[in-house]
Symmetry: C2
Subunit: 559 residues, 2 copies
């Protein structure tokens, strides 16, 4: 939420900020434990463990004089105002946790009190803490020497079953569920090793695991909890280092952890706590937003949210890493490669910009204002356009822009690092989370699950890669959006489609319904050319599917 908006919200709810009387806040041990858990699950992502803010604002008890102006402390706001904000949300992007039914009235009240207390010191995690949680479930010597399956395992889809803490492996040809394995809490992403054999998952609780896809029935072969909160994982992809190392980017403790690729044995921890690139302020909570492996160098591109730094992390000698620190923009979030895989494009969402990192030269090639609000590329979508040459596109959470940027300074210098197209999604507001394409498909697909409008939320958007226009909107058939019922008979709506993934040859596109864990939720498989619904994957085990990762496309960074 932008500060200006935050203040207007505060004003709108009629609170005399400076006059709010100080209440004595006391929480029982049980209340504290509950609030800590809710804070970690719902709030820390945007406001930070130390509550100093990132995508969301500062929410510490004391008043804050920041670069952009003053922010009242939560003590100044007081319980009543805070309840209102937490219950109803704000136009700036704060979800209405009460209104949506995700928190009860009592929980909203609890959180309004909790944020008026000083932040709890989050735990540190040492190498020996990590090692205590490290388990090699299937030793390397007992794993297959070649694929045990006759299925096309490179066309498997790893599907995150977010709210039940599991991962499903689905055959991209037969659509059969090959295996369902346990994972960490709310797995954020899946990544593949260079060979594709190993699938890596990282949970929001910092638990990493590796699944062996060569097994007849893939299963978790090693796991370790490397941190308390994490969002990213990748592996070493450079020639000679294939499948050798894995790397986890932690939110808390803010750090980079290198692991052995096959066993997840920890090798090294490097702190990302440092100084903001622009104002030079020390930032303990400098979180790793995303990591991507370079195919052309023994290097990971590591994007650090709060400090606005991109670290090119050389893993040739993983105990003694070399880090090239590039000053970029804030707050770095996620991103993807351009078509040539020389440039990595990452969102700086607080500044509505895209940072293009030239990994060949090891420098920032450009920082491009998108014109939209809160760019959220996922990995973005690449097009080799007849006029503009290679371009890369991103959606936005805060506005209805799908924006494409020229990425070929050599052969298309006129368009390089410029917005060449701003494709407006129909209707008001943003709410897009993911776009996706495949070189063999003529379309880009876009979701819009966090748009408040029910109609806009429950359809997806098809963009023609040549005309750069929305050529079709595809509503999800009502039968797949039926509300689920809680034990006490309350109806809970499913959101619309979220996230897309193509099959190996780019002929099908899969999307999932953002349901809840009360009932199984379908995955819908569309023909990527005719846009016909070809298949609905329903299985009692498939509950809350979110991210879907085709092995071949993920190992080769095809998007």
């Amino acid at each position: 939420m932008q500060l200006k908006k935050f203040f207007s919200v505060v004003a709108a709810i009629g609170v005399a900020v400076t006059l709010a009387q100080a209440e004595e806040i006391k929480l029982s041990k049980e209340e504290m434990a509950k609030a800590n858990k809710i804070y970690f699950d719902r709030c820390a992502g945007c406001h930070g463990m130390l509550r100093k803010g990132a995508l969301g604002p500062w929410i510490r008890p004391e008043h804050h004089k920041g670069k952009k102006g003053e922010v009242p402390g939560t003590k100044e706001l007081g319980t009543k105002a805070l309840v209102d904000i937490i219950y109803n949300g704000t136009p700036g992007g704060m979800p209405g946790w009460g209104k949506s039914g995700e928190l009860t009235k009592e929980e909203v009240e609890l959180m309004a009190k909790y944020v008026q207390l000083p932040p709890v010191a989050p735990p540190e995690k040492s190498l020996s803490d990590m090692k205590k949680s490290w388990k090699v479930l299937v030793p390397v010597s007992k794993r297959p020497k070649k694929p045990e399956t006759k299925r096309d395992w490179q066309n498997y889809f790893g599907v995150v079953l977010r709210d039940v803490g599991k991962i499903a492996i689905i055959d991209g040809v037969t659509k059969e569920v090959v295996s369902v394995v346990p994972s960490g809490f709310a797995t954020h992403i899946l990544r593949m090793s260079k060979s594709g054999r190993y699938m890596y998952a990282i949970g929001r609780d910092g638990k990493a695991e590796v699944i062996d896809l060569w097994m007849k029935k893939p299963q978790v072969v090693a796991e370790i909890r490397v941190c308390n909160d994490a969002r990213s994982i990748d592996t070493s992809k450079y020639k000679g280092y294939e499948d050798k190392y894995a790397v986890v980017g932690c939110y808390w403790p803010p750090s980079i952890v290198t692991l052995k690729g096959d066993t997840l044995e920890p090798i090294q921890i490097v702190s990302t706590a440092s100084y903001t690139y622009d104002t030079g302020e020390f930032t303990r909570e400098a979180r790793v937003a995303s990591i991507v492996a370079n195919h052309h160098k023994p290097e990971w591109v590591i994007n650090i949210k709060e400090t606005g730094q991109v670290w090119l992390y050389n893993y040739e000698d993983p105990r003694n890493p070399t880090i090239h620190m590039l000053m970029a923009e804030r707050y770095l979030h996620d991103g993807g490669w351009d078509l040539s895989k020389r440039y990595f494009l990452v969102a700086a969402n607080a500044r509505n910009k895209i940072v293009a990192v030239d990994t060949e030269k090891g420098k920032i090639a450009a920082i491009i204002p998108t014109g939209g609000v809160k760019p959220h590329p996922g990995r973005g979508a690449n097009i080799n356009h007849p006029k503009y040459g290679p371009i890369w596109c991103t959606g936005h959470i805060g506005s209805n822009d799908i924006v494409c940027i020229g990425t070929d300074p050599k052969n298309h210098p006129k368009y390089a690092w410029k917005v060449v197209a701003d494709i407006k999604l129909p209707g008001e507001g943003g709410g897009n989370l993911f776009i996706k394409t495949h070189p063999k498909c003529k379309y880009i697909f876009a979701d819009r699950p966090v748009n408040p409008n029910r109609k806009l939320q429950t359809q997806f958007y098809v963009i023609d890669k040549k005309s750069l226009k929305v050529v079709k909107t595809v509503p999800i058939p009502k039968e797949y959006l039926k509300p689920a019922k809680t034990k006490d008979g309350k109806e809970v709506k499913a959101r619309g489609p979220v996230h897309f993934e193509f099959n190996k040859d780019g002929t099908e596109v899969w999307t999932s319904i953002w349901g809840n864990k009360l009932e199984p939720t379908p995955i819908l498989v569309y023909d990527a050319n005719t846009l016909k619904l070809k298949k609905v994957i329903k299985d009692p085990r498939i509950i809350t599917p979110t991210g879907k990762f085709n092995v071949y496309n993920t190992m080769n960074d095809i998007y």
Copy 2:
């Protein structure tokens, strides 16, 4: 102080650790301010700002379970035991602050209480805080275009006047005091730019300054306070970068600050907070112990005390630095180059080892146990020995060993990274701080100012570079050791000689008497071959001279 010794001290003073009763400690605002200052000046160096220990032990209120065993909290020890330790010191190396007269009885009592309170959160320092203190006193355009003096300015000595916060520039030929300029608090070292024109000073208060030696009367031309506590400064020495950048290594906030060489305008801050190289524990207070500029690469060698990491810091693009992190040993302290300037040798004083860093290959060449206790090389002393080839020597604070190590794996592999000589200083105990030689001189000179024995403390030791034996001890004439008198008539003794420096051609060696600021203190100039006292530099302005830095020898790393 080693933990074992610490416990024996605790036992010796008859305190039942676990039974010490909890007292309520209360200090007034004025007492807190005074104690904070004393803590920063006297205690933080060894115990750390966060009081988690480094060279000295943990001194926080709560009990500590460390790798090496348990340490009682200061609350457990109680005021009486703490007063005893602070007043009398310990055999492990803790100075007797009361006994020596450096703290009054009341101050000792105050500190005994202070350390039972939780540590005060030390202040952060942002880029804008830094910039507020930045002053260009003489703009570059108004500085001389060539030397304005007819003196041999490359034979100047910069002399730290420690306790009066000044620096004297003394002509190495005439011994005249050319200039006395103000500096930060207790300047730790002086370093020269590659050309020798600029002399850099760093105070214990983190104030950096640059002095222009081309001026007829050298003066401070720019200053900035980059941190709250610092120990090291150096400049860019690689071809094409001569005199271009300066770098400060901070104790608090633990960081590396790059500055423009001529104006000290801050360019970049990088935090050194990270994980200990061995146990992988997060260490907020990971202090920069020393920095040295590589002559063969655009790189600084940065030694981080608590984490035991050596960072090879490439400054080609100073806003976007590249850091190669080498895992070494704890706690890194100071060190110097070998004769070839390929290897940097640095003390890991908690482990009684020397780390040899191969800066050509960017790796640790060897980690060598010295056999002595608490190696303290300063920059060490190099010898091209007829039998062992190039060797590098270091003294020790905790034992009477001057130890030499082979540094030429190519031509003298038999001796490389091995202790080839352990030269015992006569008499009991250590207390050596500095040794020094010059390629043209046949001797190494060694001081011993922190040995408790008055006789051993007040003489210096002459080692023959060929026989590797102490061939002479030279007592300081009594007339230069006369006690000074305080206002109330109390006599305060001067310690013996401390620190050596050669003149440009290596024919003279200078040492200073470690006096106090009540009276001027002499610098003694000896003939480096005959060992005759040639000249005594006395001047009303020369008070508490400690480190002496010949411009030519320092800019070329001759030792």
